[in-house]
């Protein structure tokens, strides 16, 4: 009778000890993520209501920064460019990665197909700055590889990064080149998860490859497509390195993007408060995109 409570006390003491040890294991990551992820969000929100340049302490100015956002032409142009950039990159990279993954899984399940997959993935590991540097040189109006090719085919040279109409799409091409392999790998894993008997049943029923793609593969991959589109929108919405290196926002302001504007407001104009208000808006947009994706997922499950 008396042994039981003492045993229970022992086991609860042991549990407490284990909980403490567990907390100690979690602590290092917790402290680092608190400092570098959580605290900055609140600081950012605070800065966004202030006038701040680091030389003097932040000065509370209420909603002034936010009030000035919509009338700022630099920002509205940047937003328009960013949306345009998302609208070019996301559909193209999603469609390309899907088609390539599906085709390789359907028709090239051999060593050649796996070699092609390996090659198409290589641009993923090139740093954005190295990619931007190489493509800058390829885009050179005089003697760049692409213009050499155009001249060879009898066309005039094109100033890809120097013309307002071409600069943004030319940057988008680099992003598509770099991203397609990444999404292809995710799609390929998804296609390989399609049960083989579903495919065989469709073949027995006389479905053509295109019908099988349209009525079987595509619907099964829908959740992955949602995810890839979401990841793609969020990634493209934050484009910085490519713009910084390839165009510096130009010509004019034709390649200013939201992330680039935050950088220039903060680190060139030293206007930390105003830049923070843009950053907080960016955070809200990204969270909204995540919410839409979650809702779409729920709808599918219901």
């Amino acid at each position: 009778m008396s042994a039981l409570p003492s045993l229970r006390a022992k086991s609860s003491a042991r549990r407490r000890r284990q909980a403490l040890i567990g907390a100690a294991y979690i602590a290092p990551s917790f402290i680092l993520m608190l400092i570098f992820n959580v605290v900055p969000i609140f600081l950012s929100a605070y800065f966004s209501f202030t006038k701040y340049n680091m030389a003097a302490p932040p000065q509370w100015i209420g909603l002034d920064n936010y009030a000035k956002l919509l009338s700022n032409r630099v920002l509205t142009e940047a937003l328009r460019n960013t949306v345009k950039y998302v609208l070019i990159t996301v559909p193209v990279q999603t469609a390309l990665s899907l088609l390539i993954a599906a085709f390789i899984a359907e028709r090239m399940k051999n060593r050649y197909g796996s070699l092609m997959r390996s090659i198409i993935f290589i641009p993923v590991i090139v740093s954005l700055i190295a990619s931007a540097t190489v493509w800058n040189i390829m885009y050179q109006p005089k003697g760049g590889l692409i213009n050499q090719l155009l001249n060879f085919l009898g066309f005039d040279s094109v100033n890809f990064l120097g013309k307002k109409a071409y600069a943004l799409p030319s940057v988008a091409v680099v992003a598509i080149w770099k991203n397609t392999g990444y999404y292809m790998v995710i799609y390929y894993a998804g296609v390989m998860n399609v049960p083989p008997d579903v495919r065989e049943a469709a073949i027995v029923d006389g479905a053509t490859p295109i019908q099988r793609f349209w009525y079987i593969t595509l619907p099964i991959l829908k959740p992955i497509t949602y995810m890839i589109v979401t990841l793609g929108i969020i990634g493209s919405f934050q484009v910085f390195d490519l713009v910084y290196k390839m165009t510096g926002g130009g010509p004019g302001r034709s390649t200013y993007t939201v992330a680039y504007v935050i950088y220039t407001f903060a680190f060139q104009d030293k206007n930390f408060g105003y830049a923070s208000s843009v950053a907080i808006c960016l955070l809200i947009v990204i969270l909204l995109i995540h919410m839409v994706q979650t809702l779409l997922f729920k709808e599918k499950d219901a």
Partner: protein, 273 residues
């Protein structure tokens, strides 16, 4: 074998298109390497200009601070991989195997941080690191690398570590820390390799944060040096391309040897997250 899959015109067209796309993926990199071995300062590369001379590489490394940047990048990457691997494995073990109250809610909080865009935390981090006097240090580059993705990845693998094994070791008198190091870590080794690859790439390619936080030339990392190099010498294409090739070389070698882990890690992270 080949006859079973009859090659329709559509299939041939598809194979040709996939091959063409693969060539387009490779072409900029082939061009990069070709120009890096060219003496000419124009871009009209003729075959006779190509020579197996490492002059451009020598020039970039010795004369244009690429050596320093290479050293800084390697230190940052090694430090980041060690810190992220250790902190993530520890956290995942704590979350999965220890009865910490409220741990699932905390884990959801961890996952939520994955949605935070880098630009939102950039300004406060800049202010904090400045206040702490950590600008132009390796710590400024390494400490922020720990993130929820690594812990999420490690936890997926931590589930498979059998509790019985840990209990048996405890009964045998194997201490807490020793159990973690000699039993848990070896069992989650595949996940550690995948996480190392991811961290390596993230740290190696990181640009905006090192650009603003480590401004002293002797503390710059490769992408930052690469970026200033290309702007200051617009005509010395060979040297710029040598720099780009050097930047690409390390992740590429890693990819050649660990391709399976690269791809599986992305598929895993992608399909779940």
């Amino acid at each position: 074998m080949m006859k079973k899959k009859n090659l329709t015109p559509g299939a041939v067209l598809g194979i040709v298109l996939v091959t063409l796309f693969a060539i387009l993926c490779l072409l900029p990199l082939v061009y990069m390497v070709a120009v890096s071995f060219t003496d000419s300062e124009t871009l009209y590369i003729k075959l006779r200009d190509l020579r197996p001379s490492l002059y451009n590489y020598w020039y970039a490394i010795v004369k244009r601070d690429f050596g320093t940047a290479l050293k800084n990048s390697i230190i940052t990457v090694v430090g980041s991989c060690l810190l992220v691997d250790i902190a993530s494995a520890m956290a995942a073990y704590g979350f999965e195997k220890k009865p910490v109250p409220g741990k699932e809610a905390l884990f959801q909080g961890y996952l939520a941080t994955m949605m935070i865009p880098g630009q939102v935390v950039l300004i406060p981090m800049f202010v904090m690191i400045n206040r702490a006097g950590l600008t132009n240090t390796y710590a400024a580059l390494i400490l922020p690398m720990v993130g929820a993705f690594g812990i999420f990845l490690m936890r997926q693998f931590m589930v498979a570590v059998p509790n019985e094994l840990l209990e048996a070791a405890e009964i045998d008198g194997c201490g807490e820390v020793r159990r973690f190091i000699t039993i848990v870590l070896p069992l989650v080794q595949p996940a550690l390799i995948t996480l190392t690859i991811f961290t390596f790439n993230a740290a190696w390619n990181n640009f905006l944060w090192p650009l603003i936080i480590n401004t002293r030339p002797e503390m710059r990392v490769l992408p930052v040096t690469m970026s200033t190099l290309a702007s200051n010498s617009t005509t010395n294409y060979g040297m710029v391309m040598a720099g780009a090739t050097l930047t690409f070389l390390f992740p590429f070698v890693l990819y050649i040897f660990l391709q399976r882990q690269f791809v599986e890690g992305i598929a895993l992270g992608g399909v779940k997250g």
